[in-house]
Amino acid sequence: MSEANFPSMQGPVCPLPLNQHDQIVIGHGSGGLMTHELIRNLFQKYLGNPTLNASNDAAILTTSNEMPAGLRLVVSTDAHIVTPLFFPGGDIGRLAICGTVNDVAMMGAQPRYLTATFILEEGLPLTTLEAVLRSMQAACKEAGVSIIAADTKVTEKGKSDGLFISTSGFGWLPEGRQIAGDQAQPGDAVLVSGPIGNHGIAVMQARGNLGFQSEVRSDTAPLNALVWGLCQAVPSVHVLRDPTRGGLATTLAEIAMQSQVCITLEEAAIPIDQPVRKACELLGLDPLYLANEGKMIIILPEADAPTALSYLRAKRYGEGAQLIGKVSAMPAGQVWLRTPLGTTRVLEMLAGEMLPRIC
């Protein structure tokens, strides 16, 4: 962020104090004094580090200590739009940090640096912004990442739903590690790191218009430490992916297409918390298509599945890990579900939005 040139505020000059406003106004986006104070008093307070606080137009990353020879740079980017901004178990800030941390981690890389841009809507209470930033600070600390470049703009009321956040992530991938969606092979086992559907249900509940209550909380979490340890315990991992939008089924359908394999799931083995199951039954939703923000799919050679499960189950965010399926060659590009009755059906990608139904 660049600093505007302005005279020092001493003597009889009376600066506009930040606390005269308890919400974002258009002036906060003007690039002048108000922007400067917003940056210093909120953004740098919670997200600050030497690189960000240097307040230059860009960050300089040195590679000398950070990137031994053979390491590759991994980059991902994401935009975060969620209504409401706060929901049980998380908020847009935690979602933004974890989402990008996880995207980098799903390549088997260790995320280190993030950038973040904030689109603030005129009228957004500063206490809301502060709470989001505080949450991002905690998420960064947990994940061991720092935000080294950031920007903020303000839109007129009605143009941006409170707050939009966009993030990019940068990480290092060790030499020789090749984890990607096209790496699944016939004979592989398919694992999931824990129960699915929690985030989707928590956000729906928080919207309030579907009239149900439960204790379900979003699973938003940074998985990079879990991934890093897993890849060291089981170097043969072929695919990692977090089943976010579209859920477990859509994500596996993507992998099946990329790898040109058939993935068969055992319905009875897929872990789903009871309240999530019941909320889905009540609303006519399929938990296999609900978003998850703190889970991952692991595809690896069958022989290594027991080691992987032992590792995951002993670690935070992997306690509920289960073996849920296997990979075969044909028919390529499809995902099958075997029901508890022994019958099978094909799982398609999610077509459009999943809506509650009475029918």
């Binding site: 009239g211 439960s214 204790e215 039954e281 009540l282 009475i358």
Partner: protein, 86 residues
């Protein structure tokens, strides 16, 4: 049509002159209108559709299902015994 699931009535109250309840579905609760089943009591189970109770649930049918299966299996066994006896 007919997405409806069983739930247990936790409490009953009136809202703006209409009989309402809080129903638990096993970790999920919803406000359910009892205008269609005014005789329902707290602790009873109802089958709920579109935020309304369709009917009370009875336990008799479970026994009926099991009894039917047992009858059928006994009669299959009897047929087999007859077959073997020939």
């Amino acid at each position: 049509m007919c997405l409806a699931i069983p739930g247990k009535i936790l409490e009953i109250y009136e809202r703006d002159g209409t009989l309402m309840s809080k129903v638990d579905f096993g970790g999920v609760q919803q406000e359910v209108c009892l205008a269609t089943t005014p005789e329902a009591q707290v602790g009873q189970y109802v089958i709920v559709h579109a935020g309304f109770a369709l009917n009370l649930l009875s336990a008799e049918e479970a026994e009926e299902t099991l009894r039917l299966l047992k009858e059928l299996e006994d009669s299959n066994q009897a047929d087999e015994n007859l077959g073997e006896g020939e």
